[in-house]
Symmetry: C2
Subunit: 103 residues, 2 copies
């Protein structure tokens, strides 16, 4: 499983994406996340593990708690991938599709 695979897979689950968005909004602990979401604490921990392995979040101990925050560079590869299809190349391709019709 490549790094890119892990990244896309991590973002695929809605609950996990919600966790990521919360963490991105404000760094917080596991219990705090669990309180605000309709799943158990272990579920949260499991999601955080996946997000961490995809380098989307970092964690830092703070006493008995563990504070999770966004990893600023984690979305870099996603943007890089996206940019391969966006902008000029895509616009050009779009034009080709609309005009030409060679079979």
């Amino acid at each position: 499983m490549t790094y890119e695979d892990r990244l896309f897979a991590a973002l695929a689950d809605p609950t996990r994406r919600a966790i990521f968005e919360r963490v991105a909004g404000r760094r917080q602990s596991v219990a705090e996340l669990a309180r605000g979401m309709p799943v158990s604490q272990p579920a949260i921990s499991q999601h955080l593990k996946v997000l961490k392995e995809a380098r989307l979040v970092r964690d830092e101990p703070s006493g008995a708690r563990r504070i999770y925050s966004i990893d600023p560079e984690g979305l870099g590869p996603l943007r890089a991938w996206l940019d391969r299809f966006w902008s000029d190349q895509l616009a050009a391709f779009k034009a080709v599709v609309e005009t030409a019709d060679d079979n």
Copy 2:
């Protein structure tokens, strides 16, 4: 299942992403895709169906074949989502994380 969910889910599978990338590179038929990939034709069709429902590809009949091409606007929502965490906001957040340490 929301539209965003469908988009992320569609991109999560490596095989499906490979299909999308091929189609983005050059519009082609199902058989053509099947020939170049290590899965069966029905598998390709199933993936294309998911990609189409996520609005990532379009299809157009051409005789007995069906030509699939990229949908230029399909990646828009992904970029929109990404931009919510990128740039200014993320840079600012990164700075906060690195300087402050309020628990």
